[in-house]
Symmetry: C2
Subunit: 242 residues, 2 copies
């Protein structure tokens, strides 16, 4: 049985907004980087999987941030895998400041994609092969919630450009979070209230496509739906403030 | 007389494009972060200056990248100040891989702004006060070149949103570089040819304004002009490939 792994980060100037606190997108990026580096260190990173024409694909993510750390603050991300389902593996995270106080946590669910026929790989055998990477510790919060329908009242369009795309030529997760945040008023984004993000990745979106970003504002929630110009829903998400 | 200061970086997944090499914007960000951290460490960072209602403002930057490092590569940025003019101080950089081979370099010129009346501070006395921070070593390449006129043939518009702005509520430098790159064809952006960027910051642009980005494509050059909706030119720049 494995232990949680720890990775250290610092809030760099490009990670903060004008309140000098780390943005949600930058904290989400640190969480996803941690997943990539930890999988790499344990021998099942994207680099190794590519040799078999497989890749990890983020399917759902939940992230809770109680308070956003200040510029130049050091923090530690702990990560552990605690479950392999048939189609999704669950990787967990906690974010702690240098005094050891937890200020955030995340639960991510990953599918393994067969790049040749673009189908999900059955993870049953992978779970056995990676059994010694599993940590017997529950997820630090509720798993990503389903978001079924969104009735947008705010809209934006965005043509996918070079700076948006990752190594797969798909829009990277940070950009999706930024596109959603950019539809909201500054007062909401800079509110000190704890926030929870649930995000589902339904379809890939690619260089050259135009995205439509819709937002339904509720009392202490904002729901999002991002679609491509061929009518496919790429992402649904919810931001909820306490 | 001071020595050059060294800062270590790693090419993280969010810093690469689909060729798995660091983007120009991410290398530019590392250079500017280095400036901020080094000024902070030496006691004349923006945090200290703000107490006197002053701030450093980047006026011009030249950056040459011979080859873009790969994802997860470690590299070192060396920085030193070698000149205080009356209005501009010059801070230099070299970028080296772990074998010590230089793969990039930059020269930046900074003004000190009086935040109360928005005028440039005479740096003559600052140069004396900071004399022990000056390193007697020439700039590693030609200083930023003037870009006088641009005749754009390609255009884009961009409304300035939350994710674009820095601690001053101005568009951050990385975003300007991204907006320019995003107008160019992928083949040009991913070419292995060494590239030089010259960029001049003429006026600030702020949250809520709409930018128009113009590009004049030449044989092995692209000239850029970014203006705000009140008709002011905010930035002129040139990318040149060897």
């Amino acid at each position: 049985m494995a232990e949680k792994s720890l990775y250290n980060y610092r809030v760099e100037p490009q990670n903060v907004d004008f309140t000098l606190r780390a943005t949600l997108a930058s904290l989400g990026t640190a969480v996803l980087n941690t997943a990539g580096v930890d999988a790499h260190n344990k021998g099942f990173g994207v680099d190794i999987l590519h040799a078999d024409n497989h890749s990890w694909i983020l399917s759902r993510m939940a992230m809770e941030i109680d308070r956003r750390p200040q510029q130049y603050a050091d923090y530690t991300v702990a990560t552990w895998i605690n479950e392999y389902g048939r189609l999704l593996s669950t990787r967990n995270f906690t974010l702690c400041d240098t005094a050891g106080h937890e200020f955030g946590r995340a639960v991510t669910q990953w599918a393994m994609l067969d790049l040749k026929n673009r189908t999900a790989v059955d993870l049953s055998h992978v779970g056995d092969a990676h059994a010694d990477a599993i940590v017997d510790c529950p997820s630090p919060t509720e798993k990503p919630r389903k978001i079924r329908t969104v009735a947008p009242t705010l809209h934006a369009e965005h043509r996918i450009v070079y700076s948006d795309i990752d190594f797969n030529r798909h829009v990277n997760t940070m950009r999706y979070i930024e596109m959603m945040c950019d539809l909201l008023p500054l007062e909401r984004l800079t509110s000190p209230a704890p926030v929870r993000l649930d995000i589902h990745f339904l379809h890939e979106s690619r260089y050259g496509q135009t995205l439509s970003i819709g937002c339904e504002e509720r009392d202490r929630e904002a729901l999002f739906e991002i679609g491509t110009d061929d009518g496919t829903i790429a992402v649904r998400a919810c931001l909820a403030w306490k």
